[in-house]
Subunit: 329 residues, 2 copies
């Protein structure tokens, strides 16, 4: 049975949503166990008795907070993140989930669990809502300066994750650029375009709007561009929501209108709500690592755990290693 190591510390709202999310996950899936690392003394208070035999609690004495440097993580051996990663490194758990300091999780995972053979740099992938479904975008933050070969590796890793974990058949992968033509791009992406041409289902350059219109299953960029694009997208969504809400208040002329808008917002939420997807996988690490948003609610944590289970149950990493070797130049 899959065992998930959960760093219960460092999320914006403390351990409660993490434990609630774990309990939700256990109610919906009988086929995993968990080890929770926390400095909380009365954690079992939140856990229904029937799950006691599936959840082990490991006490830690330290938490890496959002204001700490990621580089400190390796020295903080008593921290929840360090101890949870250690469980995976020592084969006491199969996968890692955390809503804490994402840089610390990345550093610890990369340096302690280690990279898959052939991976130069792990990448954070995130699932974006599209008109027709979802797309996977990577990298969204781990690597701000990338070379063409890094981008090619991201393309391969993203494609394998999309097929093996997200269940997309023969996923199309595109290179995020400033135009569709192969002549478009900056120096790095133009070189990456050439390197990617031997990858099956490589559709060439895609543009910013293609992330959301369902053109493409996997979108590849460096972490600098990915981070800016992601935050800009969230900014636009927030702005539009604000404008709609302002106008709703002003012109709320009847109960009918209010009912209608509640329906619209509910559907909208379902599509753009990141809690739906749970967390962002860090691809290229020897074991599944899921980085959840600091603001994750229990539903987001539940879905992050489900992603970790699905990745553990798949052949994700073996296939990534194999593909990287096959499509090496």
């Amino acid at each position: 049975m899959v065992k998930i190591a959960i760093d219960a510390m460092g999320g914006d709202d403390g351990a409660k949503p993490i434990i609630d999310g774990l309990v939700l996950a256990m109610k919906n899936n009988n086929n995993f166990n968990a080890i929770v690392v926390s400095d909380h003394d009365e954690l079992d208070f939140y856990i229904p008795k029937k799950f006691n035999n599936r959840i082990e609690i490991l006490k830690c004495n330290d938490v890496i907070s959002m204001s700490d440097q990621a580089t400190e993580a390796l020295k903080r051996k008593e921290s929840s993140a360090y101890m949870a990663i250690d469980l995976v490194k020592n084969s006491k758990a199969d996968a890692y989930v955390s809503a804490g300091h994402s840089g610390a999780s990345m550093s610890l995972a990369t340096l302690k669990i280690g990279r898959i053979k052939g991976v130069s740099r792990p990448a954070i992938a995130t699932i974006m809502p599209t008109v027709t479904g979802t797309s996977l975008v990577l990298d969204v933050g781990a690597n701000v300066d990338c070379d063409a070969n890094n981008l090619k590796e991201f393309a391969i890793m993203g494609q394998v994750y999309a097929s093996e974990v997200l269940g997309i058949d023969e996923p199309l992968v595109g290179l995020l650029s400033n135009g569709e033509e192969s002549s478009k791009g900056n120096d790095t992406t133009k070189e990456a375009f050439k390197l990617c041409e031997n990858i099956p289902n490589f559709m060439g350059n895609v543009e910013g709007n293609d992330i959301f219109n369902g053109t493409c299953d996997v979108v590849v960029c460096d972490g600098f561009v990915g981070n800016i694009m992601l935050k800009a997208a969230e900014g636009v969504a927030d702005t539009i929501t604000t404008i709609i809400k302002q106008n709703l208040r002003r012109s709320l002329i009847s109960i009918t209108g209010a009912v209608l808008m509640r329906k619209v917002f509910k559907k909208l939420k379902l599509k753009v709500d990141y809690a739906e997807y749970g967390g962002a996988p860090l691809l290229g690490i020897k074991a599944p690592v899921i980085i959840a948003h600091g603001k994750s609610n229990s539903k987001a944590i539940k879905n992050a755990i489900f992603q970790a289970i699905k990745a553990s149950d798949s052949n994700l990493n073996a296939i990534i290693e194999n593909r990287l070797a096959t499509y090496k130049d």
Copy 2:
């Protein structure tokens, strides 16, 4: 009186919206004349007689189409873009407006009109809607590979445009990055951060969402990031609109609801409608150059012409030259 050279060709819908936009502008502003370059034989058919003395028509024999390479533009001396730029170069007009091939306009403007002293590269700036007003983002497409000094020049040019043409008092300028801290960024933006520190009202790094939340008046990035961010933002707006419309159709339970939503859409359009802002100025050229969207309607063209007039009436370029010299390292 200001004279505007208008390339009436190459827009997605031909010369009609351009001429209609010009007529709209003339109805609202008596203080400018125009020279229109077009291959159309019966252009004056669209122009009310009372404006005949304010509009000169220049016949061309060639149009640079969207599928042409920008590099061809310099050889196509009979094209509308070439001839309109030539009018500005030879001081027969003060500013240039086009909804045609933007790359051609940029190349022609840069090579024939020339750059302001101290400008390494001209940049395209675009006006984005925010919760509280607008922000100016540059570069959004002219330069895909930029060094730190290019970014610093963009910061200065954008700030001057925001104050002199958009009328923003002491505009705040930020560097688009993957985090606010000065330690965040890729190699180029980290270097640019240091170079920008002596610019007044430099607020350091800003993030993707800051473009839309009113934190910052001027946002600086390279043209690769700017283009991707812009298209991603449009993609999100389109996706949300699509979801709302789908749900409206499904649950349109009363006239009341429909009336309410029309109001919301109208307000939304007012905020996110790029026609409001008319066009994107190409900054760093010795004369005002406004690049309008290929899909521009008459209102967008009217506003593009107003931007060109406002820039012509300002001391924009003298101030840019002066500031670039003052804040040179």
